[in-house]
Symmetry: C2
Subunit: 322 residues, 2 copies
């Protein structure tokens, strides 16, 4: 039925098609039409809906241009092997399986759509088709597990820099690795690791970037807290360009990190942070903590100065900017 | 054929059976008999071989007494759910699968025999049937990935204390978690972890204890570097008793650690160490390091004082005592 509805819109590009007409020609109820339009929306089609004029097809879902992506790649290792999928449960799940069957460092998993995209702390991640960058990157750094949180911060810095170079938005990092534009979330980063004693065996960096989602692509509940690069900048962005830039930035920072350690990464993180020198609140296993975020320590933990003058290290969890 | 050979020995317990007799009665060559005896040995049977008198069956493979194990368990959580197998590739592999299908903290996997037991750094671990303690313990500590190496050290302390209470041997810890008796290895510990950003999702502690292996149970190549509790103490030990004691010690130290942090564990580790204040050598990604092992830092790294007076932290790898 969705195909037949799309065919109707193809007949008259850019024009409104009334609900009455669709109903008459396809023999379905107005409620059924609304349900099918919603399904098409979740597959990446954008419609304008007018109570009087009906529906108008604004855009079809974008498809990854893999040839273009690979042609413009300036990295040596990262993204040199790409696995592209139309639809997956989660690119993280795919990447874990690829590593189990021998995938090498730099292997990239891309999907147009995730049906069960995962965010931090078991939360869901909204990943509609063609609108975003839903990807997982395989890393095999020869560093101790101990340094894992530093990689999380490095990833946020690379993404923040890549976004800054690709579109005209003012993006900042909320500890540890949320990217915000005007206080709203633009991307999610989730690093899953596998370790053996003190050594990391591999890391899978899951990165979700809300690139070209429009306001109507978000469920109501997400609209107050999430935004996209398209909404913030006022124009659609090239997903290929952003991935190329991100991988290049990541590779440069990663080489710097493996050679010089965390110090230069920390400075870059602090420069992009929207967390530092601000009052924050967070829950820890020992109870709530409030105070001023002062900086990062060597392990990547956030140092918080409490009103009582105590300095507390926050290793884990979410913080709330106040 | 192995069954028929065993039947011959059962006919005359404690007596020698000559190769000639086995050969005549079963209609197989002397070489074939030798091969079958070797197979039986690797399944946990012990034979004495005399060039003139033939073979004598000394002992049959021990079987885990699960009822006895559970009855004497003094823990609240650890080992309260046990999965026992006759033969597995590796108890670690089984435990990973159990966690994926929801196994809880404290779940214990025991096997009489591992066909592909894993040691640190991808090494094989010799795990013949009935002779040792080959087990994996599921842990879900609410601690940052950052603290993972501390758990590795805690595990070594718990095992060292349990062995000390169970048999009369002088056992010490070589950094980070090898247990040695008279310079020879008695056990191996391998902690595999799964993390999400800065949080540990779960840890699987793989523990191999060479309990009742005799010298002839070891391949020639291992004899200069490995020993067992039975060899060192001169008598067979109760595997059930040792597992009960280990789980109890681990649970006590684990509770102490989660409440008070690493400081008390560090003191216990240092007290049991055979590494401290001795010259050591190790390879790091930056090259070889030689010096005196001074102590542990907060992360569990070994601090080494070099001849040039420099203090270097060793996070990862093997050390060589000199």
């Amino acid at each position: 039925m969705n195909d037949r509805i799309l065919a109707l819109f193809e007949e008259s590009p850019d024009a409104y098609v009334s609900g009455a007409e669709i109903s008459r020609r396809l023999g379905v109820s107005r409620t059924a039409i609304w349900k099918h339009i919603e399904e098409l929306r979740s597959s990446g089609y954008t419609f304008e809906a007018s109570p009087r004029k009906g529906y108008r097809l604004l855009s079809k879902p974008a498809k990854w241009q893999l040839t273009e992506l690979l042609a413009g790649l300036k990295t040596k290792v990262l993204g040199r092997k790409v696995h592209l999928f139309d639809e997956v449960d989660s690119t993280q799940t795919i990447a874990h399986k690829l590593v189990a069957s021998g995938a090498e460092e730099g292997t990239l998993v891309l999907a147009e759509m995730q049906t069960a995209g995962r965010g931090r702390m078991g939360r869901a991640w909204h990943s509609p088709a063609g609108k975003g960058i839903w990807m997982s990157l395989v890393l095999k750094p020869r560093i101790p597990v101990y340094f894992m949180p530093q990689l999380t911060l490095l990833c946020a810095v690379a993404l923040c820099r890549a976004i800054g170079q690709t579109c005209a938005v003012d993006v900042g990092i909320k500890w540890p690795n949320d990217l915000l534009i005007g206080g709203k979330k633009i991307s999610g980063i989730l690093l899953e690791s596998s370790g053996e004693d003190e050594r990391l065996k591999y890391v899978i960096a899951g990165i979700g970037i809300s690139a070209n989602l429009l306001v109507e692509d978000y469920p109501e509940a997400l609209r107050p807290i999430a935004t996209s690069l398209a909404i913030a900048s006022g124009s659609l962005i090239s997903r290929e360009k952003l991935v190329q830039t991100f991988l290049f930035e990541f590779e440069e920072l990663y080489a710097l990190y493996l050679e010089k350690g965390f110090a230069p990464i920390r400075l870059l993180w602090e420069a992009q942070s929207v967390t530092l020198h601000r009052p924050i609140r967070t829950m820890t296993p020992q109870g709530p903590i409030e105070g001023i975020a002062e900086g990062l320590d060597d392990s990547g933990a956030l140092t918080v100065l409490t009103p009582a003058g105590e300095r507390i290290k926050v290793f884990s969890g979410d913080i709330e900017l106040r």
